[in-house]
């Protein structure tokens, strides 16, 4: 299973939209993806190391450099499929590049 970490302010709205959209689209593309949604401020190095990809809404200063690929998932929130598609493509590209399963 491919594990993705989404994050936003309260860990309940924007990050959940990203989580739902990524799980749905990646499943349609044939990948077994599990995405968790958390508050930005709760992320630490231990937590992020348990995931394969980090998908914040925008540029995020965590106080450390994530060791996993970071993909800006903000465009998913625009609710316009043409704008969200490049995010899904980038996630898929990363999955393929890293050989994630």
């Amino acid at each position: 299973m491919i594990k993705i970490l989404a994050a936003c302010g309260a860990g309940v709205n924007s990050s959940h939209q990203i989580k739902d959209a990524l799980e749905k689209e990646m499943s349609n593309r044939g990948y077994n993806v599990k995405c968790d949604a958390v508050m930005v401020k709760d992320i630490n190095e231990d937590m992020i190391n348990r995931y394969d990809i980090f998908t914040p809404i925008a540029k995020t200063d965590l106080g450390f450099t994530p060791s996993i690929p970071v993909i800006d998932a903000g465009p998913i929130l625009y609710r316009i499929s043409a704008m969200a598609a490049p995010v899904y493509d980038k996630v898929e590209e990363t999955i393929k590049e890293k050989g994630l399963k």
């Binding site: 994050a7 936003c8 302010g9 309260a10 860990g11 309940v12 709205n13 924007s14 990050s15 959940h16 939209q17 739902d20 949604a37 508050m39 930005v40 401020k41 709760d42 630490n44 914040p56 809404i57 925008a58 540029k59 995020t60 200063d61 965590l62 106080g63 450390f64 903000g74 929130l77 625009y78 609710r79 316009i80």
Partner: protein, 469 residues
């Protein structure tokens, strides 16, 4: 006429008798269908909302039942009247969405946004449907204090116009804060940014009197890293439970129970908050599809929920530092009756501080501390209204004593809550309140006008800097 009324009663009375969760299930499903959402998705949203509403009532019950006696003992032992339980934003959001009026105010705000887009008065398409509850909250509060539906609607239209204009004004600052290009469409119409004008006044004072303080700005990300899990929901619940238990002179077992109950409730409020956001999701997508189809070919700014700037460490560093400051202020502030708990990490306060100060952390903390009483007073003022709505939608425990109240210590839009109170009272015809409400509405507009001028100057500087590069 009587026949029509009888027929309406025959249809609606049994539905109303089913209770708020069932009513909202039906209403939300029908509204989503109206925006051409597939039936199964529409129904899913309706059921999720009914479940979220039921669950939030149960958690409020758990929290208020556990804290009712200790808070009363706290008052007796300290003489400090902090008897209102701060339940944070999630119960307030869910309760507000539990009112059918919220769907009416949602439609009003959609129409306002569309009209402003058509007239080119804004370039922001607001897709943050879920946060419409803040506006609905303001309108419902005005109605609670005496306004009729028409006056409440005019009030939110007045606030709504300024809120949408503000989203355009802030756009270049968001690009700056996110280090994003001009093509980035992210902005927000969130009500918390309507504190910007007041913060701007203090920021300008800082520019004149204390600019040297900026050199003491520290590394916010480093501070957040050090605070670690102590800033998380469950930890806050635990140590506030201990704090209240100790001051209320409870025994060890009660103190521990209070702290664990606090931690449980704060975690669950967030979890249930996500259920209710998922409930509104099909409707949000339906409305967005509807609007984008009708404005095909036009490039918009997109109005999102505020957290796209949550990646800025200053938002959390300021919230972490302000938490103990808020607690101390709450203890000594005359006229405050809220014990900060669920919203002690002031997410409703710090994003606006970030935007106006552009991340100057010392200013954020000092201005945040100065403006905190406005939030605490607004929370105290709104407690009877919130408790009343919670009871109406069946989200308030029946067994809790009648004097127990709930509110949010850092509810977004405190100024708008004062406006709602004044407009509500003025609607009852009392001349003093009519005068106060008129003055307050004029002052609200004037300070926004001044703030808009400052933001336009700032935006011109951004544009000039880009041209020079």
């Amino acid at each position: 006429m009587q026949a029509i009324i009888d027929a309406a009663n025959a249809v609606f009375k049994p539905v109303i008798g089913l209770g708020a969760p069932s009513i909202m299930l039906i209403v939300l499903t029908l509204l989503a269908l109206l925006f051409r959402v597939k039936f199964t998705r529409a129904l899913e949203g309706g059921i999720r909302l009914a479940i979220a509403l039921t669950a939030i009532g149960d958690i409020i019950n758990l929290l208020t039942s556990a804290y009712q006696k200790p808070l009363s003992d706290f008052v007796k032992s300290t003489g400090i009247h902090l008897s209102i339980t701060d339940v944070g934003w999630a119960p307030l959001g869910t309760i507000t969405w539990g009112s059918p009026y919220t769907l009416f105010f949602l439609l009003v705000m959609i129409i306002l946004n569309v009209v402003m887009l058509v007239l080119n008065k804004t370039n922001t398409l607001d897709v943050d449907i879920f946060d419409i509850w803040h506006i609905s909250f303001t309108a419902l509060m005005a109605m609670y204090f005496g306004a009729n539906l028409f006056v409440a609607t005019i009030l939110i239209l007045y606030i709504g116009v300024l809120k949408i204009i503000n989203s355009d004004l802030m756009k270049p600052t968001f690009n700056d804060l996110l280090d994003a290009p001009d093509e980035n469409p992210m902005t927000t119409t969130h009500l918390n940014y309507m504190m910007n004008p007041i913060i701007m006044v203090f920021d300008k004072l800082f520019d004149k009197l204390f600019p040297w303080l900026d050199k003491y700005d520290f590394d916010s990300a480093e501070l957040n890293k050090k605070i670690g899990f102590w800033g998380s929901h469950f930890a806050i619940g635990v140590y506030l439970g201990i704090f209240i238990g100790l001051l209320a002179r409870q025994d060890v077992k009660t103190i521990l129970t209070l702290s664990f109950t606090g931690g449980t409730c704060l975690e669950l409020f967030s979890l249930i908050g996500s259920w209710f956001i998922a409930a509104v999701e099909p409707l949000s997508q339906g409305i967005s599809d509807f609007a984008t189809k009708r404005f095909k070919g036009r490039t918009f700014n997109i109005g999102l929920d505020w957290p796209f700037i949550a990646g800025r460490a200053e938002v959390w560093a300021a919230a972490n530092v302000l938490a103990p400051i808020m607690l101390i202020e709450a203890l000594v502030l005359p006229g405050n009756h809220i014990m900060p708990l669920g919203s002690i990490i002031a997410m409703g306060v710090t994003p606006a501080l970030l935007v106006v100060t552009r991340g100057k952390i010392i200013r954020m903390i000092i201005i945040g501390a100065i403006e905190m009483p406005i939030f605490l007073w607004a929370g105290t003022l709104s407690a009877p209204f919130i408790t009343g709505v919670a009871k109406t939608v069946g989200a308030f425990p029946a067994g809790v004593s009648s004097g127990t109240q709930i509110a949010e210590a850092t509810k977004e839009g405190p100024i708008e809550q004062f406006l709602a109170y004044l407009v509500g009272k003025a609607s009852q015809g009392e001349i003093t309140f009519i005068l106060y409400a008129a003055l307050a509405l004029i002052a609200y507009c004037l300070i926004f006008w001044w703030y808009a001028k400052q933001m336009k100057k700032r935006n011109a500087e951004y544009a000039a800097a880009k041209e020079n590069n």
